[in-house]
Structure formats: C-alpha cells, structure tokens
C-alpha cells in the first residue's frame, strides 16, 4: 500500500465509497429483509406453533411435524409430486436433447422459425396450459384425447379421477410447456461444440446415435446437470396444473406437496401445520438437490 493510501483525503474517499455502497444496496435489502428473509426465518418459528391465522399462537413443540408425517395424505401428495415430476421431466429432457441435436444439424433451414415454434409453449402461462390441456383431457367421450383413444380402439379414460390418468395428464402439461425451453438451452450448449468432432466421427463411420452418445452428451454435461437440477426443483413445486385441472375439490389422485401446504393454510386455516409442511418441503428439496448433484457427478463421469 502506498503512503498516499493513508492520507486523510484518500481515507475520506474510501469512507464515502462504502457509504455509497450501503446506500445503493439499502432499498433492495430493506425490502428483502421484510418480505424475503424475515418470512423464511419466521416459518421455522410458526412450524412449532398452533395458529389459525387470527387468534393467539400456542407453542406445541414438534406436534405439527408429527401430524404431517403421520398424515397419509401428505405421503400421498409427496408420491404424486415425485411421480408427476418424473413422468413430466425425464421424457422431456431426453426428447429435448434429440430435438436440439436435429435443430443443430448443419442441414437445417428455417432454424429460427423452428426455434420460435418450439419455444412458444413457454410463453404461455401455466394457467392457460392447464386449462387447454384440461379440456383436451376431459373425462367425457368428446374430450380430444378420448376421441383419439376411441379411434384407435381404446376405451375412454376418466382422466380427472383415474389414479394414473390424472398424473399422465399433468405430466403432459409439464412436458409440453418446458420441452422447447430445454431444447433451446441444449441447442445453445451444442452450438459451442466444435464441428470438427462430428466431422471426424462421420469419417470414422459413427452413427447418429453414437455421435449423440459419445460427443454431444459428454460435451453438454454441465448443462444437462443444470437442467436436471432446475427440473427437479421445479417439479417438487408443482401447484398450478393440478389445482386448475382438478378444481377446488383437490382429489387425492392429484394432490401435490405445495397443494397440501396451500390447503392446510388457506382452507383449513392451520398455519402451524402448513408451515411445518413448508419446512418439510424445503428439506425434501435440499435432499433431492444434493442427491441430484451427487448422482449427476457419478453418472456423467
């Protein structure tokens, strides 16, 4: 440090700089403290209280957590969430890699038109997606999917009440809305892969599948891990699609963890158990994220 750094003027300048720093970040951090940080921390307090949102809070220890963990509907909601998540995202990410590979091929014309078409579903709101597909997956014989089923000789399905029907319908909504988004992300990654690699593979007589398996997927590894991570966290927060598809009565076939939490809070006015289930959801997400990154590191090595 030079001697100048210790001069009063320089010191003054430094103080002014840090003052401005605090000043510039304070509007955000004040709001963040009130509406972001405090609520997160306060949840951990509420999880241990019995409270209907209006009256006095009463400390009940771990009772809320015990209640949630012993509630078969909670476990049902967790199971549903995981199944719908797997059905909606695993095929989606796999198809997205193939679509992106096709789109990235040097032969393709109209690339930007295809990109726009694939991306269009993502611009649609989740509510709109759930309404459109909800009508397509109507349980009646005139529902589009059932009409198709009847044409190919299958029986109509009660999509809104059938255990797997509900899950498949919701998984299709997730698949449709996010497929193009992930395709474009993979495409962006693929455009960074040098073309010589593919050319060399072609000369060596590699098939398309071999190129994807041995060039594309290893090169895309960080991006694939990232999309798996995002999709996992996103599916654990599934809420809008089942709520719109099943309506307010929330049949058990389609209840998800966030729906469970929402119902505890805003229909049952049990804010304590709702907070407890929010904390449990948070822990589940941490577990999944950790397992995810561990697995991803192993599988893609």
């Amino acid at each position: 440090m030079s001697a100048e750094a210790h001069s009063p003027k320089r010191w003054n300048e430094k103080r002014k700089e840090s003052l401005s720093g605090y000043l510039f970040i304070s509007p955000f951090f004040i709001l963040f403290a009130i509406f972001g940080l405090f609520p997160m921390l306060f949840s951990f307090y509420l999880g241990f209280q019995r409270w209907n949102g209006l009256g006095e809070m009463e400390f009940v220890g771990f009772q809320n957590f015990v209640f949630v963990m012993e509630d078969p509907i909670f476990w049902k909601s967790l199971w549903n969430t995981i199944i719908m998540g797997v059905l909606g995202t695993v095929p989606q990410l796999i198809v997205a890699i193939f679509l992106a590979f096709a789109l990235n091929s040097a032969l393709v014309k109209f690339q930007s038109a295809f990109r726009a078409a694939f991306f269009l579903p993502y611009v649609t709101s989740t509510v709109a997606v759930a309404i459109i597909f909800g009508v397509m997956f109507s349980s009646q014989d005139f529902g589009l999917v059932n009409v198709f089923f009847n044409v190919i000789g299958l029986d109509s399905v009660n999509w809104q009440t059938n255990e797997w029907g509900v899950k498949i319908a919701i998984a299709v909504m997730v698949f449709w809305r996010w497929l193009g988004y992930n395709t474009i992300i993979y495409l962006a990654g693929m455009q960074g892969i040098p073309n010589d690699l593919y050319e060399a593979a072609t000369i060596d007589g590699a098939t398309v599948w071999q190129k994807i398996r041995f060039i594309t997927i290893p090169m895309l590894r960080p991006i694939i891990i990232f999309t798996i991570f995002l999709s996992t966290i996103g599916s654990l927060q599934l809420f809008t699609e089942p709520l719109i598809f099943l309506g307010g009565n929330l049949r058990e076939e389609g209840i998800t963890v966030v729906l469970y939490l929402w119902r505890e809070a805003f229909s049952n006015m049990a804010f304590g158990t709702a907070s407890a289930s929010a904390i449990i959801l948070f822990l589940i997400i941490i577990v999944f994220a950790t397992v995810n990154s561990l697995l991803a590191n192993k599988v893609f090595k």
């Binding site: 009130i34 609520p39 997160m40 295809f114 509510v127 459109i132 307010g248």
Partner: protein
Amino acid sequence: MSKVISKISLYAVLVIGALLSIFPFYWMFVMATNHNSVINSVPPAYLPGPELVTNFQNVLSNIDFFGAIGNSIIVATISTIGVLFLCSLAGFAFAKYHFKGKNLLFGLLLITMMVPPQLGLIPQYYIITQLGWLNDLKAVIVPGLIDAFGIFWMRQYISSNVPDELLDSAKIDGCSRIRVYWNIAVPIILPAFATLAIIKFMYMWNDFLWPLVVLRDESVHTIQIALRGLIDAYVKDNGMILSGTFWATIPLVLIFLLFNRLFISSLTQGAVKS
C-alpha cells in the same frame, strides 16, 4: 441416398415437434370460436366456427376481463421497472464499490435464491394482512420487487461491461456517485435491462400462487386468477373458457413472435449464465 433419408428424417422430427408445439394454440382457437354444443359432441369441432364474438361476450359477462388484464399490466409493469432500478443500483454497488460485509451480503442473496418461495409463503401472507394490503395490488407489486437473481445478473453484467477507467474519469470530472451510476453505467447496461425486463415481466404476468393467496376480491384479480374464475363459473361452457384463455394468451404470443430472438436469448441466457 442415405444422406437423403437422414435429411428427411431430420425434418420429420422437427416438423412433428413444431406441430405438437403449435397444435394446442390452434385447437384453443377452434374451441374459442365454436359453440359449446359443437365442442361437446363426437366428433368434436376441428375447424374454426362462427362463435368468436359470442363466446367472448360470455367471458365478459362472467369475469371483468379487461379489468384483470389491466391489473396484470399494472402489477407486471411496476414491479419490472422497480426491479430494473433496485437491482441495477445494488448490482452496481456490488460490482464496483468496496464496503464491509459486501461478500457476506452477496452470499446471503445467492443462498436465498436456492430457497423455494413456498417456505416464506405463510409469514408473507401474515405480513400482508398486518399491513392491510390484502386485496391490494401492492401485495403483489412490493414483494415482487425482491429479485435476488436480478442483482446477481446485474452485478455480472456490470463487472464485465462497465470499465473502471470510465467511472474513475467521471469521478475526476466531479460527477457524484449517483450520477456516475445514472449517466455512465445505465446507458452501458441497457441490454441487460432488456433481458431482465423480459424475464421479470413474464414471471409477474404468469405468476399464480401468490396472487391467488393475496388477491381474493374480483376487482383486484390478475388475468391468471380471473381465468381460474372462468372454470368455476356456474355453467361449464368450454367455448367461453377457451375464449377467455385465448384472448389472454394471444397478446404475449404476438409480442413473442415479433421479438422472438430477443425473448429466447433473454429467457434462456438468464438461466444458463446463473
């Protein structure tokens, strides 16, 4: 020969993918223009019908469609502008100034980015009721101003695009710090503004859970909440429901088609870079 086959199968995959992406929009339009009795028959309508206007009139008699669109525009616009300002200001400080606890505060932000929003849902609701903001658009706008990703994004962009020399020379010329931010940094980071604005606006426009919790009264419904009202309407009229959905979806789709390159790069870039 094999080259021709692979070219054909390549296009087949892409065309099928594109058709599957677009078909629900076409079908939504078919439903929005047909009478419920035509929709609810076998085989169902597969071509646009004559009920475009009637179905939309039925929407208007069930929900305050334009009021809800207006609410969505207010909520999304104000929170987007607010986020651009707050996040660029804070991101500027994080990128260019030295102050104690800077790394700690920034680290705190990164951690909360990982926390699912549902964790704070109930206390947030409690705060809103205590402030008396239930059924007030403020209840969605003000919490919407918090965007940890926005700060992260702005800090990255400012660090790599706004040269220190430029800021120093402006300071020597006697510019105050806030003017350095406004006159020097902001014009350089306008592209980052566009990206963040698209991400934020889309998020606020499509958000459902939080508005559902705090905007109960019909007069403050955003369009997403109002659409849900259509499903719960007394008579289940699919033509009417899909008409409302169609007209609520089309504005954003048209804007997207006009600026699709900017939209696609913004919405995916934001995800990839973080």
